[in-house]
């Protein structure tokens, strides 16, 4: 699962919206128990959540650690970083984030323009 094949596992794990939602939950509150995670997905069975977690664990995106009798789940950002680095070099990372920021500004700017248009017309 690690090394060369890790990229494949990561993409497979990220392809599912529920699994991305699970990662989002851990990103905002790392170290949740299975019960805590299940509360976010009332429409899903406990078994369903566990299955999604095991796919995320196979891709190394979720790690578990025991605290006494409690098993907690942690988001491991390392595989995502490695997948990103495969196409974005460390040199480019800053430049890219600057471009994304610029893009956001341009979009925000054009939205302001559009909202003004009816008044001026």
């Amino acid at each position: 699962m690690p090394s060369v094949e890790q990229g494949t596992e990561v993409f497979r794990a990220l392809a599912d919206p529920t699994r991305r939602a699970l990662l989002d939950r851990l990103f905002s509150h790392d170290g949740q128990t299975l019960n805590e995670l299940c509360q976010n997905f009332p429409e899903m069975t406990r078994f369903g959540v566990m299955k999604h977690l095991s796919v995320l664990a196979e891709a190394d995106l979720v790690l578990t650690a025991r605290q006494g009798r409690t098993k907690r789940h942690y988001l491991n950002p390392v595989p995502i970083e490695q997948v990103a680095n495969r196409w974005i070099s460390k040199y480019a990372a800053r430049f890219t984030s600057a471009l994304v920021a610029l893009d956001d500004q341009v979009i925000a700017g054009s939205e302001t323009e559009e909202s003004r248009r009816p008044e001026s017309a």
Partner: protein
């Protein structure tokens, strides 16, 4: 909820002994860990201190466990972690950094890093969150290619980002 711990895992194409050296030997750490090195070689039960290449202090604490990897048992390096590289972070209570180095087969070593005890250290929690990803990535790159990652940010930059 438990916003007091970060957990990371990475696979490195190197032997457990090489990875152990990368974590505990200054000849390695200064090449990927923001130029930091141990003032004295770390010893179990003893205090330690790391400094940057220019002599400025980085981290101090106590080495609580130091068990090198053996054929069948994983290596364990546990250190309390008191930050010295930033005045605000220095005021927060020390955390604990636990390295586990384990043979994962196929020429790979699994490194698990747990940085815990940060429940009362919000700034540190935020500061080290992405920092460890870069360190682990840099260590992997150094061990696998012989060169560390190019330096894209330093402690100050990360601290500023965490505050903004």
């Amino acid at each position: 909820m438990s916003l007091n711990t970060h957990v990371y895992q990475i696979y490195i194409a190197a032997s457990p002994e090489q990875v152990w050296a990368a974590i505990t030997d200054s000849e390695w750490t200064r090449r990927y860990f923001h130029t930091t090195s141990f003032v004295e070689p770390p010893q179990r039960g003893k205090a330690y201190r790391t400094v940057r290449a220019d002599g400025r202090p980085a981290i101090d604490g106590v080495i609580e466990e130091m068990q090198p990897p053996l054929a069948e048992s994983p290596g364990r390096f546990v250190q309390t972690w008191h930050i010295l590289y930033d005045a605000a972070l220095e005021q927060e209570p020390p955390g604990r950094v636990e390295w586990t180095v384990e043979n994962a087969g196929e020429g790979l070593t699994r490194v698990r890093l747990v940085h815990g005890g940060l429940g009362q250290s919000r700034l540190t929690w935020q500061n080290v969150k992405d920092g460890w990803v870069w360190i682990l990535d840099s260590m992997k790159t150094l061990l696998e290619t012989g060169n560390p990652l190019p330096r894209v940010r330093d402690y100050e930059g990360v601290v500023d980002a965490a505050r903004s």
